[in-house]
Amino acid sequence: MQEADYVSYIEDAMKKTLRKGANEIEAFYSKANNLNVRIEKNEIINEKQQKTHGVGFRTIKNRAMGYSYTNQFESHIILETASKSLDIAKISQSYDFWEGLPTPKKLPPVKEIYDPKISNISAEEAVELALVMLNTVREDKRVQVDTGSVHIMDVETILLNSNDIFYEEKSTYIVLLLMCFARTDEDIGSFAFDYEASRKYNIDPVELAIRIKDLTIRGLGAKEPESRECEILLDPNATREILGTISYGINSENIQKKSSPFEGKIGQKVASELLSIEDHGVIDGGLNSTSFDGEGTPPQRTKILTKGELKAYTYNCFTAFREGKESTGHASRASYLTPPRVGVTNLIVGLGSKTKEELIDEIDYGIYIGRISGNFRPQNGMISGTIKQGFLIEHGEITTPLIGTMVSGNTLDWMKNVTGIGKEPKKTFIGPIPPLRIEGVKIIGRK
């Protein structure tokens, strides 16, 4: 059976469900080919190939929605699944403000999100990439690989709705990841973790492995610092909590259910003047770039923070209609298994003018934080966790690696206390992010 048959089954099921009384219907089909090579215990553990696909139907009846999905592409199962979504819509809640599914629009061109070279990576080539990483980090036998992987993904999505939308997109991803620790007769270091991800086949496994090898070894001989308040420099991998506070806070679902700290704060200063952030859904090569969002609205470039002032929230159709607005193209869905929610695309933090070294040079006493392992509450910004891949900064230089060191505070305050932003961003899963320097952060170590 070919993909064209699947699409014709889906279209047929949509027509029949409309005839059964549905007012609108949308189908989201996705197909993913995954190739994964996993490293554990300093060995290549296995190679996995996963070919998965499925379709989810969102049906609207009297302004109420139902959702149902399947991965079995027999025509009667597809029809039953679409009918099920109608049955669910009939007993679900009606929303008077619902205006309808999106209509066809000119889609923005998005470059460099599909690379046939990634699609064509063979199993042997993927193993070779993993071996290069493994052999490079293991040049120093103190380095133990806890986990590593080469992940190749080739995804195709098709979005159809009863307003004649028929959008298709192909995407590719390559992700190389390593989590290592150093072990000697006297010492065990903590995990050192880093990754490289791209939509193009342009990643250097040796560069990543050397970076992690060095980081792992530098973690040996760690000490506990004294408890005090000081300046911190967050590595791009450690900005997840700050950016998580922002992406949660601007999400219109959270605004509307009154759990966001940014409710009613458009136009107000919520961060340092140094901090400007955009959400850019169509940036070339962006890990989250796409030419249509999870329900068919073209993504756009949205100013979120400008010099610390909150500028916008993110919306899908449902949350936008509730406020009489238009969707900002932020309908997000991870796969056909879920109906669209609201999310962010690529967060672009406005760059500063200093290198990481220059930012460190200006710190008399502080902490460099590679990762934070702990808990934070985006509803109120409270954060408390253990510092990982952390180092003491003394008189402008990185000195001692840290162990048993915790950080606590509030990310809403941290956003206001940014004192420096790097000029060299790292391509992270949430966007290109530079290092951030923050003052007045509570560090818990020795008494």
Binding site: I44, N46, Q72, Q379, G404
Partner: protein, 459 residues
């Protein structure tokens, strides 16, 4: 389907040294309520099969969702081909410990099958929870309630002759509320879950769960921030279970042991206070991590990891059991047919002692009482960190003023060695959650209240 799988094994076993096939049919249901409004009702049914082939000491794994003879044969060929592809890179050839041949058909008991409960009744349960939260206080501004059920029918067959089917039903309700007072914002959450059907709501009144969350969110609004530093702590059974699972249990997973975990080469050595025993088991009826056979066809069991303070066993799959020369412990679990099995915990608990809760509190002149776990992580060197939702100062043997949640941290071994009092109020199960070691996996937790020392990342 069984005949087709038998033919596929017959075909595939000629191509490789060992072959297993696992097929699953999964039915999921979810209803989500936000501030009294139905936000989502979703129902889905997916199926698929995977093949894992061991060829000359190397694994290959492939998946298909097209359940025809051609597709299943092709899946097996891919798995064998992938095993051959990585064979050259193996320094140590994988071998499997022997295990008895299983032939069985299992249905874990369910009194109220979620697939037979109508949607209106499901919505009614979470609406009652939502109303209970908002009725508690006008300072509650937000409440999200989710109800999920997950039914998997698994068929496993391997080239050694083992074949079994197992049907497992899981039901879960979770609730999250936010209270506000001016600029003060206080979130709180709870969940109940098990390998059960809707009888879970007869056993645990859903409104009671809602009341706990509402009380916690409003009470903590004006609570002071958590203190910072190292403290004598009394932790509730949920946090104790997390200590058993996250801080200690992961270090005892044999794959992590081989990588160099802090428990490497420590069998027989003292790793906890002498009164402390820790188990990982998959037999407690209704607990979220229970099942009869793991995803290699090994019977689930109760594994004594620490006995009276001394490390007794690691947690094994067939591969690591062979390396260590022991029996597999039934810990090979896969998230779904799309994933290969890894060593995962099941229901992990510290066993009880003989202190009453009141005695624990009265005996603690200076310390803190911590409640409500929020998940956590552990590191290679035994350092762990958990989120907790609420705490109370203990002064002269009495529970004092509350403080807000924070992260607690310590070294797993040291914290286990520092345990000096174990409660007798043992509970296992229903605290369940997901463990995120590469794949998401249902696990459960248990334990009594206990006393030890930990660091708190507070103000």
């Amino acid at each position: 389907m069984y005949d087709l799988l038998t033919k596929t094994i017959d075909y595939g076993q000629k191509l490789t040294d060992f072959l297993e096939i696992r097929c699953e049919n999964i039915v999921d249901f979810e209803v989500a309520l936000e501030n009294g409004e139905i936000k989502r009702i979703s129902e889905g049914n997916i199926s698929g099969c995977c093949a894992r082939a061991l060829y000359n000491g190397s694994w290959g794994f492939a998946v298909t969702e097209i359940l025809t003879k051609e597709s299943l044969f092709s899946m097996v060929k891919s798995a064998v081909s992938l095993a051959k592809g990585s064979e050259k890179s193996k320094r140590q050839k994988i071998e499997l410990a022997e295990t008895k041949i299983i032939e069985d058909n299992v249905i874990l008991p369910v009194k109220k099958d979620p697939t037979k409960v109508n949607t209106e009744e499901k919505v009614s349960i979470i609406k009652r929870m939502d109303e209970t939260v908002f009725d508690h206080s006008d300072r509650i501004t937000s409440c999200s309630v989710n109800l999920d059920s997950h039914t998997v029918e698994k068929t496993y067959i391997n080239s050694e002759g083992t074949n079994f089917t197992e049907k497992i039903t899981r039901t879960e309700a979770s609730i999250f509320a936010v209270a506000k007072d001016g600029n003060l914002i206080s979130p709180a959450s709870e969940s109940i879950a098990g390998t059960v059907g809707f009888e879970i709501f007869d056993e645990f009144e859903p409104e009671q769960l809602a009341r706990i969350v509402a009380e916690r969110a409003t009470k903590l609004l004006k609570a002071r921030l958590a203190p910072a530093g190292e403290f004598t702590v009394i932790i509730d059974p949920g946090i104790v279970g997390l200590l058993a699972h996250e801080a200690f249990g992961h270090c005892a997973e044999a794959d992590f042991v081989i990588s160099g975990s802090i428990l490497k080469d420590k069998i027989g050595e003292q790793m906890a206070a002498e009164n402390v025993s820790l188990i990982d088991e998959g037999l407690t009826e209704g607990a979220l991590g229970s099942f009869k056979y793991d995803d290699e066809g090994v019977p689930s069991q109760s594994t004594m990891v620490v006995k009276n303070g001394y490390l007794e066993s690691y947690l094994h799959n067939r591969e690591t059991a062979k390396i260590f020369g022991v029996e597999p412990t039934g810990n090979a679990r896969a998230q779904s047919y799309a994933q290969d099995p890894l060593i995962r915990m099941r229901n992990t608990a510290i066993l009880p002692g003989d202190w009453s809760f009141e005695e624990l509190i009265e005996d603690t002149k200076d310390g803190v009482y911590l409640k409500g776990s929020m998940g956590g992580q552990a590191d290679s060197n035994g350092e762990f960190m958990f989120g907790i939702q609420e705490g109370y100062f203990l002064e002269n043997g009495e529970i004092g003023v509350p403080f807000r949640g924070a992260t607690i941290s310590g070294n797993a071994i040291q914290v286990m060695l520092d345990i000096d009092a174990l409660g007798k109020d043992f509970t296992m199960g229903r605290e369940g959650g997901r463990c995120g070691k590469i794949q998401s996996m249902w696990v459960d937790l248990g334990g009594p209240h206990l006393r030890t020392r930990m660091k708190i990342g507070g103000e």
